[in-house]
Amino acid sequence: MNVYKKELRFMKSTMLLWVVALGLVMVMFTALYPAFSNDVETSKRLLEQFPPQIRHMLGLSLSVFFTYLGFYAYIFSYITLAGGVMAMNMGLVMLAREQQAKTTDFLLTKPVTRTKLFGAKLAAVVSALVGVWSVYVLMAYGAAKLFGAGTIDSEKYLVLNGVFLLLLIWFMALGMLVSQLLHKIKSVPALSLSFVFGLFVVGLISALIGEEKMRFLSPFKYVVYTDYVANGTIDVPYVWLAVASSVAMIVAAYVVYVRRDVKAVV
């Protein structure tokens, strides 16, 4: 429990900063909702002048965006991008904290096995992520109500945000694995930004070219938010893929962590 508590204390200010950052991004986007719903009215009027077949085609996809959730599904991509950076940062630092502070041998001489250390650290980071996530979900709900979202389908809203938590865990696992595969972490932001933005761009391109194989590479596209809001469909295999790959990355990080050669500080 000592390690767990200590880790959480280390992360306190980071968590607070990220709550503020996620809140800011979310409020900035949500504040556009009133203008967006005005535009929806204009669009509906425009739509009436179109020939019936086109109206039907466009109308179907437009109707998805006419609700608050449709709008949320759009801005959600950018919130998950920020969240991804946060989770990967936390995952990267989690096992490398001692290495950076050159206190690994101090920690490892204590009568605690590496397995226990790993468990306590993992539990601490997961708690931190769940904590930030819960605060975010509440803030986002409040902001939606504040900016006139009307009634929100609470089941879809929760599932959508549940996907966010899954993404956070995925990027944390990636961070943990990367931190164990590298000899030394030179810069946490450099690694997390390159990976998270890289995968985000992969997701954008996979959407542009509509290639299933590429979608597979970017966790940002495992669940297509707008599809879910429109038809309630989620590609279950992709959800399993996210879960399985997270577990695999955590296990791999564990295997390296318990066997790793620790350099003594001279």
Partner: protein, 265 residues
């Protein structure tokens, strides 16, 4: 020139990785150009009548993906994002890493002035940035070659090459400035990461909500937006000057602070 060569050698591997990833992305995207051109154009034209917010959410960005240049234009932002991440973080680390890794004492007891050290580091980074822009343009040429005669698209690709280089240099300059000027250089990487991220979000916001147009000078991703570059057939002169001013300003500030401030030991 020891420091210059040392830095170049250090960044060789990341440079290759970045070139490869940008190449793979460009190729996998351009390969699909053919299949996309069939149909769908009528709808693009109709959606143009809709308000900007609706268009942005539909992924319409004023680019005609039915032409090679328009389709390539959609990818410009993705490439810029990746180049900006690379340039910004490299700039921040070049100078800050000595203090973070606690090697600044080792470096500064050598018979080299601070100005000299900073100059060699900046020059090394500049070389990488420019090389990466050149590689990106060459890869772009190869990626579009199968769809269009090189002489038809050369002008546009070179323009985009200029746009990449300018955006890279802006983030590189700001990164160098953070690394050299901050009294706590360990925060440099964090700050430049935040700068790149905020610039991208602002870019998205301006696209959704035209009421934010006044904020365009605040985000380098807007300076040479693919839509404007293709429409004007040139890089905006005003934004080129602004970008140049940011670059020169931040480098000068970096020199002014780095030669005077206390180094962390």
């Amino acid at each position: 020139m020891n420091i210059f060569w040392k830095e170049l050698r250090d960044y060789r591997k990341p440079f290759i990785v970045w070139s490869l990833s940008i190449g793979i992305l460009l190729f996998s995207s351009m390969v699909k150009y053919d299949t996309l051109t069939k149909g769908g154009l009528g709808i693009t034209k109709m959606v143009e009548a809709f308000p900007a917010t609706i268009q942005a959410i539909f992924g319409m960005n004023g680019l005609d993906i039915g032409t090679v240049s328009g389709y390539y234009g959609v990818n410009v932002l993705f490439v810029m994002l990746m180049l900006a991440v690379q340039a910004g973080l490299m700039g921040a680390q070049l100078v800050a890493k000595e203090e973070v890794d606690k090697t600044s004492e080792f470096l500064h007891v050598k018979p080299r002035s601070r100005t000299r050290i900073l100059s060699e580091k900046i020059l090394a980074g500049l070389t990488i940035v420019v090389l990466l822009a050149v590689v990106t343009v060459v890869l772009s040429f190869i990626a579009v070659m199968q769809f269009i005669a090189p002489q038809e698209i050369a002008h546009i690709l070179l323009l985009f090459g200029g746009a990449y280089a300018m955006v890279q240099l802006v983030f590189y300059g700001i990164g160098v400035c953070f690394g050299a000027a901050l009294s706590a250089p360990k925060h440099a990487a964090k700050l430049i990461a935040l700068t790149v991220f905020a610039s991208y979000l602002l870019y998205v916001l301006i696209n959704i909500q035209p009421a934010f147009d006044w904020a365009k000078p605040l985000t380098p991703f807007m300076y040479f937006d693919a839509r404007d570059v293709l429409a004007q057939g040139a890089l905006s002169a005003g934004y080129t000057i602004l970008a140049g001013a940011i670059i020169v300003g931040s480098v000068l500030f970096a020199y002014a602070r780095y030669t005077l401030r206390d180094l962390k030991t």
